[in-house]
């Protein structure tokens, strides 16, 4: 499917959930506004409706969407905040992990690494 990155190996329902999050962040869906149904998503992304539903449910579990019986899925009040918070921690953790691993491979001690981080902070602070 062209809309997805071909080299994205994460499950499709995760990709759908993330795409919906981005739509919310971009303001295409406001708080208490109805989002796409599993059938709309299925058709849009050419996937089984059950898979699309799994993506929606993921966001319900994270309190980004809520269900209204018989009406569909809606954006919660705190959705935007939750998404931003989640992305911040995720991205940062991943970057830090890469740094730590690379430092280990290069035999850089913990103290040296902390020192390097402090140096960068200092440089950035001077600008």
């Amino acid at each position: 499917m062209a809309i997805f990155h071909a080299d994205d190996t994460r499950p499709i329902y995760v990709q759908i959930a993330e795409w919906l999050e981005t739509e919310i962040l971009n303001g295409n869906f406001q708080s208490n506004e109805k989002v796409y149904s599993q059938y709309q998503l299925a058709e849009m992304y050419n996937i089984n409706p059950a898979t699309a539903a799994k993506g929606l449910n993921l966001l319900v579990e994270e309190k980004i969407l809520y269900k209204k019986r018989g009406l569909g899925m809606f954006v919660t009040e705190s959705a935007k905040e939750l998404i931003m918070e989640k992305r911040r921690t995720h991205v940062l953790t991943r970057l830090i992990r890469d740094v730590v691993l690379e430092a280990r491979r290069l035999n850089i001690s913990d103290n040296e690494l902390v020192e390097m981080i402090k140096n960068v902070q200092k440089e950035e602070g001077e600008e």
Partner: protein, 304 residues
Amino acid sequence: MSVIECRNLSKKFFGGKTALNNLTVSIEENKITGLIGRNGAGKTTLLKIIAGFLKESSGEVTVFSERPYNSLKVSANSIFIDDQMTYTPALQLYDLLIEADRFYPNFNMTLAKGLFEYFAFDPKYYHKRLSKGQKSTFNAIIGIAARCPLTIFDEPTTGMDEGVRKDFYRALLKDYIEFPRTIIISSHHLNEIEDLIEDILLIKDGRTYLHLPITEFKEYAIAIKGKKDTVLDWIKGKEIFYEQYAGVDTMYAVVKNDYTEKEFEKARMAGLEISSVRSNDLCVYLTNKSRGGIDDVFSGSQPV
């Protein structure tokens, strides 16, 4: 609710070949199930028994709560599409659509006509003169438009070119959303149908090997790459589906994914690369007879 129930289903053909060997499975209503297996795994035999075309040798099979063989109920509510379908040679293509419309109660003639025109069929042409791919396409149109409560496609895309395949799967999905029904599609190419199906049924040597939602199947195994000793240590006691070696001491292994997030963290810290496995590859690994695949054939004879 399940539409199809098979319990210890076996089929032996004359000459002693066992096509199905105590296969047990139940398929739920209004789901799209992908039936996957290697050549000779028993896919077609299973589908033909479900459709009532073949009689089981032993075990139990019910479709819509009836034994399918010689069942009018099953035959009235199902359609079986493959590349062996034959129609009366006297009728032209368009007349075949009209007859199908008369025969199948849910037949959607508007859709059939639309697809017929989209794929540029000549109404006055004859089925037996069509090319392999065109035959498959025409059969697929009948299969979709018939809207049978149980719709079975056995290797429906044989001979279709890439564009037609995509169109066919998209048409099937769209019509399924509009008119949900139980659909089984068999294919060698899981990558073609993995987004379309809800469940995967993987059979091996005439038995059910795996039957689970495709989203779970995609997380069923993970691949791990890194220094051989580290990898071996990390996969100790796990079910290994595939292994491969490269360079001096690099190892790549595919194992069952029952690790916790913490264990992944540890692996990454130890410098191991973890990735997901493409479902198509996983199917091949799972249905291989040996863990090294074709390489094992050669490794015995190679000079060290």
